[in-house]
């Protein structure tokens, strides 16, 4: 087999894995958009915040240590203990539920009935708020996230492909774990929304707010629930992403790439988010591989957005989105 083709195959596989990460972030967007019609720009920041909280709790950091030190002239840093990973994940999950509750109670409650675009801008405000709040709480250095996931090159794939093609593929173990976790997460979400009472209520709200209200479903509860689930999904995405590249605030900007993923897949479709993520992941890797060297590289910065833009011109509702019907 020609070498170029092998490289391309490897790039495609790696792209698929990167796409899983985008899809994980996009999933949180879709959940919130379906349930409340809110386009949550801050999802990427939730991912970062969740990951930071996890690392902070795990390593026993004192929240706001920097601020406390500055105000009181103390020199506190750590509690001096480390928390077991499972417990830290639970604490971080609880923190995300708390964030969801705060957002619902103090922001969304007051914005009911406002135009969608106002809600969108409010989430940009939240993005900004957390951009300052997260590093203030946990410090602004790059944090190392280690929850014991397998890392490094997968030997089995390397040797197998070497035996087949005479060229070993480099696939990170972590990416494989991420793909499995994403699959599990989606399955769990589907099961939850199909077979539990809350899940059915959630789908009812997504279908029609007022009809759901009239049969006695509490909108407030559903919104807290869906933001909590989105927070939990963000935590999972944060764990995967953080294990891969360390946790820092600039991760949120990478997570913005979930937006073109959504546009491609359609804002309301969970399968759309997954498939969109994979398309973007593979597309940008292949484009960088094929065209990147000709134009100076680093095309990943914009390829996803331009692809989504071009795609939308031909199909404004995305791949799996609901048909947009406009009435006067």
């Amino acid at each position: 087999m020609p070498e170029q083709l092998l490289f391309a195959m490897e790039v495609t596989l790696n792209g698929l894995m990167a796409g899983v990460l985008y899809a994980l972030v996009a999933l949180g967007f879709v959940l919130i958009f379906k349930a409340s019609g809110i386009f949550n720009f801050a999802q990427g920041m939730l991912v970062v915040f969740a990951a930071m909280t996890l690392v902070g709790v795990q390593t026993g950091q004192i929240p706001f240590a920097h601020l406390i030190n500055t105000i009181f002239g103390t020199k506190v840093h750590h509690f001096g203990w480390t928390v077991p990973t499972i417990l830290a994940i639970i604490v971080a999950g609880a923190a995300m539920v708390f964030v969801a509750w705060v957002i619902e109670k103090y922001i969304l409650q007051h914005l009911i009935g406002q135009p969608d675009i106002i809600l969108f801008m409010a989430t940009i405000g939240m993005w900004y708020f957390m951009h300052g709040f997260a590093p203030l709480m946990w410090g602004s250095e790059v944090m190392k996230l280690d929850v014991g996931l397998a890392q490094g090159i997968n030997e089995t794939i390397d040797t197998t492909t070497y035996n087949w093609f005479g060229y070993g593929f480099f696939i990170d173990n972590l990416d494989i774990v991420a793909a499995i976790v994403a699959a599990l997460l989606v399955t769990a979400l589907v099961l939850f929304s199909q077979y539990t009472k809350q899940g059915r209520a959630l789908r009812a709200v997504a279908d029609d707010h007022s009809a759901a209200l009239s049969v006695g479903i509490s909108l407030r509860f559903i919104w807290v629930l869906v933001w909590s689930i989105a927070g939990f999904v963000a935590l999972v995405a944060g764990i995967m992403w953080g294990s891969k590249s360390g946790v820092q605030i600039s991760l949120a900007e990478v997570a913005l790439k979930a937006l073109p993923v959504l546009m491609l897949g359609g804002f309301t479709s969970i399968p759309g988010a997954i498939i969109g993520g994979l398309i973007i992941g593979v597309g940008e890797q292949l484009f960088e591989f094929a065209v990147g060297p000709l134009v100076g590289g680093a095309t990943q910065a914009w390829f996803a957005y331009v692809l989504a833009l071009v795609f939308l011109i031909f199909r404004p509702q995305g791949l799996f989105g609901e048909k947009i019907i406009e009435r006067v």
């Binding site: 601020l67 500055t70 922001i107 409010a122 405000g125 708020f129 300052g132 203030l136 590289g297 404004p316």
Partner: protein
């Protein structure tokens, strides 16, 4: 008591439609212009110009541009930073290629080039609406910044990848480069700002502006009553990008002096200008000024109080700035979705009644 319109009679439609219908407002406007042009230039020093006036004027131009697109025509854009970069790099290329031509023309042509780029990126807005468009404008943001970083022609193959403004002058007065006097910087920004604001005000209160607002309120309905959506949306993108391009050109040539696309015109710049427009008030000329002033002054104030007075590290001040700005955005959207401009309007209403409550 003082803020009254008693005796202020309007006898023609022209009078009725003027920008400042109350005499006191008109007086205030002329006084503000007089102070800005004839008093402040004699007293400003480098610190005031570089940390307050120049950024305020330039951001006000950008905010006016974005307000026309988002506030008047209802097309949310997150690509302002990218369009400012177009203005800056176009201005740079022109300044270097045609050193004999007056810089004012360079800035204007840079604005024109940005307008063309803006229209190109605005074309999808005919099919893509709302959030989808907001995300699509991110494509402009990331693509343009990447372009200016990677294609060496744009920064004339300089080793650092930066662009540096050469020294240029207007009527023999140096306005760009390191030897610029503070007042010259101040004046050139002010002149552009006044020109842009005058254009914006007159465009938005005429037929063009009403078409934009029709498209904003409901594009299908506007189309049915005879507004051409193509012309309305494209003109909004063109005018908006023209202003943003001017702001970008001034930001680079006059204010910064040297710029690098990713650093000076990144996505944070887009957000910053968007926040100015939201905090100031969507669909308001005065709001663009108020928002720009607020967002320029607040960090300066925070820095002076926290870092200067209390001796806190700059890092914490920067983080607090994010928190305060984000919090303010949310608070404004909850309490007063129409921003500072609406607060000002309410204050004026109250003042007209004061001290009699009825």
């Amino acid at each position: 008591m003082f803020y009254r319109e008693a005796g202020d009679f309007k006898t023609s439609y022209r009078d009725d439609n003027q920008t400042f219908p109350i005499r006191l407002d008109r007086a205030g406007y002329w006084i503000a212009l007089f102070v800005a042009f004839c008093v402040i230039p004699f007293f400003v020093n480098d610190y005031w110009v570089n940390s307050i006036f120049a950024p305020f004027f330039i951001y006000a131009i950008a905010a006016l541009g974005l307000n026309i697109l988002t506030g008047y025509a209802g097309q949310v854009s997150l690509g302002t930073g990218g369009f400012m970069a177009v203005g800056a790099y176009a201005c740079y290329k022109l300044m270097v290629a045609f050193p004999d031509i007056n810089i004012v023309f360079h800035v204007l042509i840079a604005g024109g080039i940005t307008a063309a780029v803006g229209v190109a990126f605005g074309l999808p807005s005919l099919r893509i609406k709302g959030f989808y468009l907001a995300v699509a404008t991110l494509a402009a943001q990331f693509f343009l910044v990447w372009l200016f970083n990677k294609v060496a022609w744009f920064y004339n193959y300089s080793a650092s990848g930066q662009i540096n403004a050469p020294e240029r002058s207007v009527f023999g007065i140096v306005v760009t480069g390191p030897n610029t006097e503070a007042w010259a910087k101040y004046m050139i920004c002010l002149v552009f700002l006044v020109g842009v604001a005058w254009m914006a005000r007159n465009l938005t209160r005429g037929m063009t502006g009403r078409k934009w607002m029709g498209i904003r309120d409901m594009d299908i309905a506007a189309e049915i009553i005879g507004v051409n959506p193509l012309m309305a949306k494209m003109s909004a993108f063109a005018v908006s990008s023209f202003f943003v391009g001017i702001a970008g050109a001034l930001f680079f040539a006059v204010y910064l002096g040297a710029a690098e696309a990713g650093e000076s015109f990144g996505i944070t710049k887009s957000f910053l200008v968007l926040f100015m427009v939201i905090i100031g008030g969507l669909g308001s000329i005065f709001g663009s000024f108020a928002g720009a002033a607020f967002m320029v002054l607040m960090p300066v104030l925070l820095k002076n109080v926290l870092v200067g007075t209390m001796g806190w590290p700059t890092e914490i001040a920067a983080e607090l700035e994010f928190i305060i700005v984000g919090g303010l955005i949310v608070i404004f959207l909850i309490l007063e979705p129409h921003g500072l401009a609406q607060l000002w309007r309410l204050t004026k209403e109250k003042l007209r009644l004061w001290p009699f409550p009825h």
